[in-house]
């Protein structure tokens, strides 16, 4: 920790305020800190880009074995049959800021007591500051009988797994609409990224069936994991009302426990016991948890609701680890009540970077994250609701002229035309 204290005080003298113009006007620090970023997804790359600019003398190491980058918010449009997998696949190398060192391995072990991480080849990388941005693991295996190779077969869809799975999911949706029958939708009880996506898939299936004149041939059932379809009350009310108007049945407190792909039968846990439904189509959203390396480290919450699945302990306003002050958790892995969207990353990254810059410049870190979470809720082909909210469940619309609970084309326009550019700009630290 001595080196860290040295950095904090020494760099204070050299703190400078940066170049003009908004984002780029952000304060800078000349601390020569060793910064490790675990994960090169939405959060990891955005962090690397901003840190490179705001801490130009820091040694930044990004560790991630994945070389392809997936624009996951676009998986919904792949699953709707509108985009192709290529539309959501970039290369991490194109966004890695120059001067950052990228180790193309996974972090196998986090050792915050000795301020090091170990990579999958056994290489130990020391740090002064660690950013955990590993995203989360999709735990399909926790559903008995399910594994991701089943996606696209036997009426099973899941847009979450990867772009080809999202494309296979559209083919499954399309075939189901053509053949008719019972379609099941739902979500897991765990924390999850983009909690709106299971609802979007339900709406898309309904709309596709209407467009094909097949709505009367399909029965759609949404199995909510608890007594609500969405955790923000006004959104719950609105979606429930829309489901009723579109003849989409809802079962509350039904959690998918097992599927039998051959027999096309799904088993749910409910407060009244286990129930089984036959289906012709099912959209499976897997339980989600921390990746193994995080789960097996001292970083996760030790008790409370976020401990079970290994989410990294973090103060919700600063995303700083309360037990390891030089560790921050950003993006999906952060053990905070909301914020598992790319839009959240956009607000989280400037907070942690500005605070680190302030701290290494001897100033008080004052930036806070309010839990901003957003998910344009696609409600039909061409329509969406631009839903944004904070930790307290307050709706926090960015545009005063776009009502969050109205189905609008302009919200769809943002989803279909705006988000990808904004996401890519975020990866470069410019949005």
């Amino acid at each position: 920790m001595n080196r860290r204290r040295f950095l904090l005080t020494g760099a204070a003298l050299a703190a400078v305020n940066g170049i003009a113009l908004s984002n780029v006007r952000a304060a800078t620090s000349s601390a020569k800190a060793r910064i490790v970023i675990a994960g090169a997804g939405a959060a990891g790359l955005a962090l690397a880009s901003r840190l490179r600019r705001q801490m130009p003398q820091a040694a930044i190491t990004v560790i991630d074995q994945k070389t392809a980058h997936h624009f996951q918010p676009g998986f919904t449009l792949v699953g709707a049959g509108l985009w192709s997998p290529d539309d959501v696949t970039f290369r991490n190398a194109d966004f890695m800021p120059s001067g950052a060192d990228w180790i193309t391995e996974a972090v196998a072990e986090f050792d915050p007591d000795s301020n090091t991480v170990a990579t999958s080849s056994g290489r130990r990388v020391p740090y002064d500051f660690l950013f955990v941005a590993t995203g989360l693991a999709l735990d399909y295996e926790r559903i008995e009988g399910m594994d991701r190779s089943l996606i696209g077969t036997n009426g099973i869809a899941s847009i979450y797994a990867n772009p080809p799975a999202a494309a296979a999911s559209f083919r499954a949706i399309d075939a189901f609409v053509d053949q008719g029958g019972v379609g099941l939708f739902g979500r897991p009880t765990t924390e999850m990224k983009c909690a709106g996506a299971p609802l979007k898939v339900t709406f898309i299936t309904d709309d596709l069936a209407r467009r094909k004149g097949r709505r009367s041939a399909v029965k759609l059932v949404y199995n909510a994991h608890n007594p609500t379809v969405f955790s923000v009350p006004p959104v719950h009310d609105r979606v429930t009302q829309m489901f009723a108007a579109r003849d989409i049945a809802v079962n509350f407190s039904h959690v998918l426990k097992a599927i039998d792909p051959g027999a096309k039968r799904a088993t749910y846990e409910t407060p009244e016991g286990v129930v089984t439904f036959d289906y012709d189509f099912i959209h499976v959203v897997p339980p989600m948890r921390a990746p193994d390396a995080v789960m097996n480290s001292p970083l996760p919450w030790q008790h409370g609701p976020l401990a079970t699945d290994g989410w990294v302990e973090a103060e919700k306003a600063t995303l700083r680890h309360p037990r390891y002050a030089n560790v921050f958790a950003v993006g999906d892995i952060a053990g905070v009540p909301r914020g598992k969207t790319a839009a959240s990353v956009k607000w989280q990254v400037p907070v942690v970077v500005d605070n680190l810059v302030a701290e290494t410049s001897g100033k008080e870190p004052l930036a806070t994250y309010n839990g901003y979470t957003s998910c344009p809720m696609v409600t039909a082909y061409g329509k969406a609701m631009l839903i944004e909210f904070d930790y307290n469940g307050n709706l926090t619309p960015s545009f005063p002229f776009i009502s969050p609970l109205d189905e609008l084309w302009v919200s769809w326009l943002i989803e279909e035309k705006g988000l990808k550019g904004a996401y890519r700009a975020m990866l470069r630290g410019l949005a």
Binding site: L21, S22, N23, V24, L82, A380, Y381, G382, K383, S398, F399, P400, F401, I402, D406, E407, L408, W409, V410, W412, L413, E416, K417, G418, K420, G421, A422, Y423, R424, A425, R428, L430, A431
Partner: protein, 127 residues
């Protein structure tokens, strides 16, 4: 909203449009230069801009109307998706971008034509 400053907006546009952005900016520049030089030409020839403006407004209006019909399709939606005043306003504003470009082009061409020679459509009211 306060986060949508010009730098951020430009970065988002650049990422959304890729190399097309430079092509579009070039076209915009050519149109601006065209409009300004045509207006100067008219002025030095002492001709009224009335007819070029009318021609530009007509062409721009028709083009905006046509593009308004096409805009939802550009987002993989149909016109039935337009669901409120804000949708119509957004679609019109987007359609106005190519519509405005066509208006600028027509204004430049009509002005040069008027400035160069006396035609039935170009009066000499400024003379």
């Amino acid at each position: 909203m306060e986060d949508f400053n010009p730098v951020t907006m430009f970065a988002i546009l650049r990422e959304s449009l890729g190399p097309w952005l430079w092509g579009l900016l070039l076209i915009a520049l050519v149109l601006v230069v065209g409009v300004v030089s045509a207006a100067m030409k008219l002025r030095s020839a002492r001709r009224s801009p009335k007819h070029p403006i009318i021609a530009a407004a007509l062409a721009g209006g028709v083009a905006t109307a046509i593009f308004f019909m096409l805009v939802p399709g550009w987002t993989m939606a149909t016109h039935a998706a337009l669901n409120g005043p804000v949708d119509y306003l957004a679609a019109i504003l987007i359609a106005f971008i190519p519509g405005g470009g066509i208006a600028a082009m027509v204004f430049s061409m009509a002005s040069w034509r008027c400035a160069r020679r006396t035609t039935a459509v170009c009066d000499k009211s400024m003379a």
